[in-house]
Symmetry: C2
Subunit: 289 residues, 2 copies
């Protein structure tokens, strides 16, 4: 079974199917987890576990955890009081399908589920309490106020003004890169890597995370609705400051190349079979959607 | 310093004060944590730690964690897509003060903060990774889809129909009692209690948790806006099924007495200095607001 299939099988195994009273909530959680995209974050957990000499089977709960966090953030991001998006990956967004109240609660429950899965007896038996708690710490830190959620707050602020480079950069570092960093770190921690090695793995995550966001900003200008799978031009319509509005497309393409090189150099330092991670970095840089 | 002061000092110590870009988020988080009520849940963590022979200093991060979860649930509960409450404990609700988007994100970040605080190096140094991860598991379990959030979903459903006893009971068990149970369990775990003892501590929490909710339902009928500090009659206005609508006030008072007795009996089984917990159960039963 390839990594994505392995992850997807695990993702659904933790969400109960039948419950007399709470079925609607579970359905709503499953709906958004099913509408997954490239599963980049969980794949990174498994790849870094493998690269650091660990058994990827043991990293699966942590791979699921980071995907649940990512999914909850998308559900909340689509809500009317946030981006107010009716569609997500070609399907009605969660609140369009289940109502705003259930969507809010499904997001909340997916965040709890992430931490539940990482602290299950079956998980702790696999990796030990020390590694489990290090992973929990890493994910909690990078997904909260000083990480992903903080990035979303800066993003909201950047929509209301002409943001500086520092503000755009702080936003992207936190909103997008933080969770990708967490994924790389968790994979390494599962395999028993020390803090220095974990830091190195994170720096790959940070580089591809920022590159990912800049590519997003470029595609928002250069792509079409059909290819991108969502309406283009939304940043411009919202007068939103992005790397592209600050530096222009050409300079941004150079930045993506620079960040991708940085990620590849990090892999060279890490050594081992880095083929899959190398390909991932290159594919993210040249992606069209 | 008494337990409440100790908890409140800790509660604010984990929320950063200054940040160039994310200040508004931290302000919003602090605003709702400050507007705290009786701090019942964190007090239970400390009391059960003490009762099981532990050092309450070590239980403080877990006391904070359960209060952050409680606070986030109130912020999200007040949102327009949920109960749409403009006031909370005599102050504007979070979204009235900071806007819906920031309130949503402050709730999300408080949930993350709960797990961050429980997995900090400084916390793990105090209680060890085993106990930390057991506490994390307990809280994640009781606050998520099969706990508090699940209870809120049943609550939403119960507003749209005449609910059965099973439905009202499932709602209260999860919506209110689950987090109180988690608090009792975490205190005991911090002190190194075994699973049997943790279960006993939880059964006290469950009994006072359900009693707490029934008293809430009674006060919604029998109190006044001034004494209760919030508008009474909201359940009746919403045609909401509660213990009171099912059984009437007299029978409900008997149920509260029965549950309080059950809690006190559990304390007898636990032994030790249970004075504070005894008083807490009795005070919650006869409270007027």
């Amino acid at each position: 079974m390839n990594d994505v299939s392995l992850v997807e099988k695990s993702l659904f195994s933790y969400i109960p199917k039948n419950d007399e009273y709470i079925k609607k909530l579970f359905d709503s959680m499953r709906y958004s987890v099913e509408a997954g995209g490239k599963r980049i974050r969980p794949r990174l957990v498994l790849e870094f576990c493998r690269l650091c000499g660990g058994d990827i089977e043991k990293a699966l709960p942590f791979a699921c955890a980071v995907e649940y966090i990512h999914t909850y953030s998308l559900i909340h991001d689509d809500l009317p009081c946030m981006d107010d998006d009716d569609m997500r990956r070609g399907k009605p967004s969660n609140h369009k399908k289940f109502g705003e109240d259930i969507a809010l609660l499904a997001g909340d429950a997916l965040q709890s589920l992430a931490f539940e899965v990482m602290s299950l007896d079956s998980t702790v038996e696999k990796v030990g309490a020390d590694r489990a708690v290090r992973c929990i710490s890493k994910l909690a830190d990078y997904c909260g106020a000083k990480g992903m959620v903080g990035g979303q707050v800066i993003d909201l602020e950047n929509e209301t003004k002409v943001a500086t480079y520092a503000e755009v950069s702080a936003c992207d570092n936190l909103k997008t890169a933080a969770l990708i960093q967490a994924a790389c770190a968790m994979g390494a921690i599962c395999a028993g890597a020390d803090n220095a090695k974990v830091k190195l793995c994170e720096s790959y995550g940070k580089a591809i995370g920022i590159a990912f966001q800049i590519v997003d900003d470029i595609l928002d200008i250069t792509s079409t609705d059909e290819v991108l799978g969502k309406p283009v031009g939304s940043d411009e319509d919202n007068n939103k400051s992005t790397y592209v509005s600050l530096f222009g497309i050409e300079k941004c393409r150079e930045m993506v190349d620079g960040l991708t090189d940085e990620a590849l150099n990090t892999l060279d330092k890490l050594g081992g079979d880095t083929e899959a991670l190398r390909e991932l970095a290159l594919n993210l840089a040249k992606r069209k959607n």
